[in-house]
Symmetry: D2
Subunit: 372 residues, 4 copies
């Protein structure tokens, strides 16, 4: 049995489950897998509503297999989620003033009173950190990692990412026909604040000409030069896929000037609009910008995401049933593993410039805007 | 034979075809249908590139059945299109000054010299008007109507519209899971400058709570009241579908103030953002805005659009072969008809407030933001 | 008020609703529209389970708006359906023998006892006839037409048909790549027992070379001749779309011999296999057969079907609320109408050989296997 | 440089490329990646038509980047493929008799005369073995593995598989609504002659109740028992996913009797029909069978398959350019590797009974028909 484990096999009778952070296709499939696995072992599952809020306000809902129909196919989370419920810094109004209060002891007490023997918390970086602190206070917990951006270091892949890449790629496919028909530059802004995985994967799959990601500093002039080469070679359109955080680190002076200028109207629409405007100015080619936004994180999960979610859910339930708490379930080199929460909390999975997808993209002529 | 006809059956040997205005799923399917129909009658087809530009600059490309593979399934137009090529007001630089010049005689001459016996012009309002003027000057032409917004008075349906509605509805389906999971207001801005058909059809199909269209003046307060009723009835999220031209006529004072204020940053993102911001302010409910943009007009045409395009193309080719020029091909009450161009040029198909879709939507509780 | 009407406006307090016959995308959307419309008028709706079985066995389920979530997007029927429950010929075991019994009086009694003031029956030909007979016995009823094959005379379009055509077309798109890659004949059998609408619409949209439908007698030799012409013109593959009832009327001698021979193994796989085998024999070209089957009638309804279903549901609810019974709701020339059940019960909507879709298909070179 | 290598970096000027065996989504994406990579290095690419036939009959087609548009999105292979062209056993008619002849020397000669410096052969088991023998005769070759069933031992994943699983899962999603609405057993036969990967992955993702694969012997009685348990627990339908080769090894006596009986009509429709018929007989529950067939292997590749194909193509081109021949490109633990052809030719990737997907499926109650 695992060193960090706080429970004991056979003593778990009831599990609680919650979903934290932004929603993502596959959350419901994890919930379903946990419930089906537990039920077959004679273990009850209580859904905790709206992430940690449910533990603060005692909002529970009984889950059983009769409520799991269609959850494989349905995006989002039936438990609700929240980003504003950190029990260690819960916003309360005290003496007419709004300030953060540590209500973690309330959470511990509510958890015990509710008859739960273990918690499965599905969520990203924030949820993981909160859960780890609760675990350190004695709450028996397992984490299932979630990040639509696929930027968690502990796991090779997160569910929802494949669906997001699919939605973005289909959008690029659609936008391509307009680009070709009108000889335009089309800028497509996709998700990815810190990591460029969605831009990289969808840009490669959609046949982008330029991919801009946070990990590779770019220059507008290099992109313009790239577009000019394409034009002179007879290609009359270009597709530029931009991660929403493409400019988060460092980069082009012209972009920086706009982004840093609070009176600059072009920055309001996000990095996609800034880049689209600059490219149109510099190339004099008609340019259009599409910001994909929330359609990337909702809807029917892909088959890959359904199966990864189901695997995560089953393994999390098994860990809980075996009393192996303090762990994060993860996929590493194709296998489901558990990682101690303490180790999992650090670091981000970023795109390395020598990642094979980047190298492959360069080999077929895709620019990352960094040529000299 | 038709009164307006300028040709004579049996004298047509070569047809020209062009696509004008914004691209749209189904353009290629019209081209394919024209080429396949003509070829079986022993008639050649010349593709004219980039709308009327091709007639100004003599850019032609021979089309035959061997080049028609996959065109049913492929969005956009292989002929290219343009919005900046009106031969009656062609922008030229003369004496260092850029101004519009009437080059329609050049077009007439090029058309005759190129050996074409008839022109099939696929396009919207603008293309139709130009073609009609050329027809009046003696150029034998047939029009095929195109409008992604489905707002042409002469035809009950235009191709591309069904595909656009499908894309918008799928986006609303995806956005719904986030709305539910987070208890948010989600604003989805769809196409529709003058007519609200896409918003109406996709909002009804996607299960929207509120639909805002140009034809029905709305008030922010009415929408807020509607959302409050839903909340008090236990529904924790709302989906608001907004046509991009929802505010083109008249409407709410608060919206008008923002839209009319050139220094107001919220107007930059379009009406969807203005409404999203106002709703969040007034309801204090977390709100997100998605502007679907160009993904609505590209990509694989729906089966309906493939078939309507094919029907339009075959009928246009037959008209041309029979020398029945000066006509617009149209769908009326399920049948393909021809309408004299002169009659077709006037008016827009707008959503009447007593349209059945509007009434049906109201019956199931959808608000148009106009309740008192 | 309508002549056939048996009720009176304002007296309807509770409606029953049932779904009969084979399932179809859009049934749930009709149920949802009826419930939402009725609820806003203060009228309760009882779901009757498993078609008329529910009225025989008193199986009801209360429906309200809280249960209507996701029904727009979900195929099939939450009420269940059945083909084996005709109350006028209900199969019962009496004295050890299974025989049909008229239990319609039980149905009338159960209906009255259950407190229902009106019935909305959604179904095809069979359901319509049963409902009409019950109406004649005094049961206040409204019908909503359903036929995945779109073969009801009373309505121009039935819901589910557009979805089925979409699924079939996507399948043809997929099969095309194999046909091209291997230079094969690919036979695709689609639904359509009596009417060839699905084959006609999906064949036209999918770019079929040959379409075989029940309404147009075909000959294998004509198809073979057609394939040979294509081959000699350099086209190395052919796609043949076959309605499952393509041979229901009369036709080719070779096919008839197989279909009529009970010992002939090739008939077991259906008409698609018979035709595939004969074509491979006669052309010596590698041939593959795909029978699409049930995937055509399930899953997410298309936007068109969602909206048609919603319109049908709202209008049916309004009729019932207004006490206008004995009617079938129908779409005619783009408008929702009501048709007296008596008139609606007769006749099938078949493909006329001079239907525009047939003529258009012939114009672009599609064969119906009937050339001489 | 690799030991098996027969070339020398810098000496490769022209590459040939062919596709062998059954088609698969992603073949065109491999071709595109090879051409784009080679072109940027100044290397020409000749497409060889119809697999090895093109080398026997000297059928070549020049490939360059201008012909690569849309290939990412397009299934099948633009080069054509064939299963009947093994140069070591080429079927010829000699003295009026059809028999296999070794024409491999012709292939070697044609290859040299055509000016090719290296061959990239994309194909499955058969293509790999032929290519290896040609390599042993001195033909410099690289293999890219292809198997829609994902059953090659040398690579963890093959392209096309993810698309096939996606198509199968969507079909199961559609079929589910009919199963639920009618309380039926629905049997879905998917691809997988020797390996059950498609059945396992799509069954898990589609929420199947029973999955039958070649690697796990099943018994009809166990399935029937499983269905009865579900019914008594209130679940009125079951979905049974069957790999086409589910019975290839050993298994149920009743199935064996039918499959072995050449006069048994039920065997003609394949294993899905045999099982469907037996289940309906034994349970007396209405049962329907759908054989998905060729729709699983065609059409638009998924994003995963597009990217895997592109990675394979780029790496194969690089190997060839570097003169590293005799290798198979493969994906192992997330990284692209090369494997000597000699090692790659042996063995099949089968589903182990203790594979995590199998164990996970069992944990949530999916039966493999092997319970006692």
């Amino acid at each position: 049995m695992n060193v960090e484990s706080k429970g004991k096999k056979g003593t778990v009778r009831t599990l609680g489950i919650l979903t934290g952070g932004g929603d993502c296709p596959g959350l419901n499939a994890v919930i379903r897998a946990v419930v089906l696995t537990a039920e077959r072992e004679g273990i009850r599952v209580q859904g905790i509503q709206n992430a940690f809020s449910g533990l603060i306000h005692n909002q529970f809902t009984e889950l059983d297999s009769s409520k799991m129909d269609h959850l494989l196919q349905y995006g989002g989370t039936i438990l609700g989620s929240s980003n504003r419920d950190n029990p260690f810094q819960f916003m309360m109004t005290i003496d007419g003033e709004r300030r953060p209060v540590d209500v973690s002891e309330t959470v511990m007490t509510n958890f015990r009173k509710s008859g739960l023997d273990g918690l499965i918390a599905i969520g990203g970086d924030g949820t993981l950190k909160i859960t780890h602190r609760l675990f350190q206070k004695g709450l028996p917990a397992i984490c299932v990692p979630k990040s639509i951006d696929n930027d968690l270091l502990a796991t090779d892949v997160t569910f929802g990412f494949d669906t997001a890449v699919g939605v973005a790629t289909e959008a690029i496919d659609r936008i391509r026909t307009t680009a070709e028909s009108h000889g335009r530059l089309m800028v497509v802004e996709v998700m990815g604040r810190n990591a460029g995985w969605i831009a990289l994967f969808s840009g490669l799959a959609g046949g982008a000409d330029v991919i801009l990601i946070p990990e590779i500093p770019f220059s507008i002039d290099a992109i313009v030069a790239n577009i000019r080469v394409d034009r002179s070679a007879g290609k009359n359109f270009s597709i530029i896929v931009v991660a929403e955080g493409a400019f988060s680190k460092n980069g082009d002076v012209a972009v920086k000037k706009i982004v840093d200028d609070p009176t600059e109207p072009r920055r309001l629409g996000g990095i996609g609009n800034v880049i689209g405007n600059l490219l149109e100015e510099k190339t004099d080619i008609e340019t259009r910008v599409t910001v994909l936004g929330h359609i990337q994180r909702g809807g029917i999960p892909s088959t890959y995401d359904r199966n990864l979610s189901t695997r995560f859910g089953v393994h999390a339930a098994r860990c809980a049933i075996n009393g192996e708490f303090g762990q994060l379930v993860a996929l590493q080199k194709g296998r489901i593993k558990t990682v101690p929460m303490a180790d999992a909390a650090e670091g981000q999975r970023l795109v390395s410039p020598d990642n094979d997808f980047v190298q492959v993209a360069r080999s077929i002529g895709i620019s990352f805007g960094d040529e000299t």
